[in-house]
């Protein structure tokens, strides 16, 4: 078993190495054609300069609402946006003063083309399209304690695909589930937004070694999910889910397990 995994890992690593070398060769071929070697990873990007379009914007001396306002930038003043940390943007004034402004204040500025900078409203559902979702949850899997992770990708406002991983720790046995699923969210704009989905994967059950010495068991599992996202702030959601697991066992009867979990999800 372990050898097989090692073999697979080696295979994947070799493939990655091959892919990398191919890319490098292609790059260097391309290089001779057009000044590739001018490419500089650490090249400074063009500075992002915006003009203040409000009476004033407060500049804090730290990335937080509680940190003191030590400076203000006034209408017509040009500021350079340096970087963003959570919902705070580090700026530099023309005179070289650096400080932090709130993300929402960016709507009080103008881009070089005279339009407002394109910073989407974090409360709108469109904001989450083309984004990855990372979630974790804790719950109950037929009496066992469940720890869940999921990594998803949202294609449209309504549709997302995800990889689900669960580690269930029970009194008599532990189990792991790896599954691939899709979810549909009919009302993505709602504050509490329900979703449903299906998933398929594999469950590996290993009985506690203190009880009996037996082999790990692998079975196919199908899941039907019903859940809801609750919007907390920006890209942070609470996620609760009920899952019905159908385990296709090697016995005569298939097992049906009910599972619930509560967790959080972050879109990035």
């Amino acid at each position: 078993m372990q050898k097989k995994i090692e073999k697979n890992v080696q295979y994947v690593l070799r493939k990655i190495a091959q892919l990398c070398s191919c890319t490098i060769i292609l790059w260097s071929l391309n290089a001779s054609a057009d000044g590739f070697w001018d490419f500089d990873l650490f090249k400074k990007d063009e500075p992002l300069v915006v003009t203040v379009n409000d009476a004033f914007i407060n500049v804090h001396n730290g990335a937080g609402g509680g940190y003191p306002i030590f400076h203000v930038v006034e209408r017509g003043e040009k500021i350079t946006l340096l970087k963003m940390h959570t919902e705070w943007i580090k700026i530099q004034t023309e005179r070289g003063i650096t400080g932090w402004i709130n993300r929402s204040d960016i709507s009080q500025t103008l881009s070089p083309d005279g339009n407002k900078p394109d910073f989407p409203d974090p409360t709108k559902a469109d904001y989450l399209v083309d984004r990855f979702e990372f979630g974790a949850g804790f719950g109950d899997f037929d009496g066992a304690k469940a720890f869940d992770l999921n990594l998803g990708y949202r294609f449209t406002k309504n549709l997302s695909a995800e990889v689900r991983f669960a580690q269930n720790t029970g009194e008599y046995s532990d189990s792991r589930i790896v599954a691939l699923g899709i979810n549909h969210q009919p009302f993505p704009d709602w504050y509490v937004s329900p979703y449903f989905g299906i998933a398929a994967g594999q469950i590996t059950t290993s009985p506690s070694t203190t009880l009996i010495q037996s082999e790990d068991r692998k079975d196919k599992v199908f899941q039907a999910n019903l859940g809801a996202y609750v919007h907390i702030t920006g890209r942070f959601f609470l996620r609760a889910e009920l899952t019905n697991d159908y385990i296709l066992t090697s016995h005569n009867t298939n097992e049906e397990v009910k599972e619930w979990k509560v967790g959080f999800s972050v879109f990035f």
């Binding site: 990007d45 063009e46 992002l48 300069v49 915006v50 001396n61 730290g62 990335a63 937080g64 609402g65 509680g66 940190y67 946006l81 340096l82 970087k83 963003m84 940390h85 959570t86 919902e87 705070w88 943007i89 580090k90 881009s111 070089p112 083309d113 339009n115 900078p117 394109d118 910073f119 989407p120 990372f134 974790a136 804790f138 304690k145 720890f147 992770l149 580690q167 720790t169 532990d174 506690s208 070694t209 203190t210 907390i232 702030t233 920006g234 890209r235 942070f236 959080f264 972050v266 990035f268």
Partner: protein, 222 residues
């Protein structure tokens, strides 16, 4: 003869004229460039574009290494090292994943009884992973001089995960608090405490354990 000399001169003049003309023509090309250069100087070097959020570099991810001491009930106090990975959602909320390695000592019973061994050497290797949600409860600043300061944060966190030793996973709740000290925008030092609570049945009956960890870490934001 005269007309012949005239003709030679004429041909020469014509050649010079075409040469200069073509030279002038060639010279015109860079001249056009000069105009562009001039244009660049006159009009400011700003592209007429809308700035998008994705143009801006974000520093919301944090990766860190830590080292500390972990006390596991009945199994002594042991060195622990680990990696942590965090995502800062808002200025207050963050999520943190951690993976740590430690080793268990012998229980007092094993030491006193002489030959008895409850666990093999391999079973004494302890690993844990967990995921937690944190809240920066007391953001602060320390002032070195009137203007020169460092940002700090006191945070609480709670979560769950699994602890693996003695060939079994134990579902583990974790709670913690810490002080994060930002030396720069992108480098922070973390001094914190964690509590791991799990139940095991290694001694025959169920036993709830509370295990404490003190640790010091360094993190990078990217």
């Amino acid at each position: 003869m005269e007309s012949r000399i005239q003709r030679i001169f004429l041909i020469g003049a014509l050649l010079i004229a075409t040469a200069t003309a073509s030279l002038a023509a060639r010279a015109d090309e860079p001249k056009a460039d000069d105009n562009d250069e001039l244009g660049k100087i006159i009009t400011p070097d700003l592209k007429r574009r809308t700035i998008k959020e994705s143009d801006l570099d974000t520093e919301n991810f944090e990766v860190g290494l830590y080292y500390g001491l972990l006390t596991i009930e009945d199994f002594g106090t042991n060195e622990v090292q680990g990696v942590s990975f965090a995502y800062h959602i808002t200025e207050r909320f963050f999520t943190e994943a951690a993976f740590g390695l430690s080793k268990l000592q012998k229980t007092s019973y094993e030491l006193l009884s002489g030959g008895v061994q409850l666990l093999t050497d391999d079973q004494r290797d302890l690993t844990y992973y967990n995921l937690a949600v944190g809240y920066n409860v007391l953001p602060g600043q320390v002032y070195v001089t009137k203007k020169f300061h460092f940002d700090t944060n006191i945070y609480f966190l709670a979560g769950a995960g699994n602890t693996h030793f003695a060939d079994k996973n134990y579902f583990t709740y974790n709670f913690g608090a810490g002080l994060r000290f930002y030396s720069t925008d992108w480098l922070s030092i973390d001094l914190s405490m964690r509590e791991y609570a799990f139940t095991h049945e290694l001694f025959g009956t169920k036993k709830d354990t509370n295990n404490l960890e003190g640790r010091l870490g360094v993190s990078l934001f990217f």
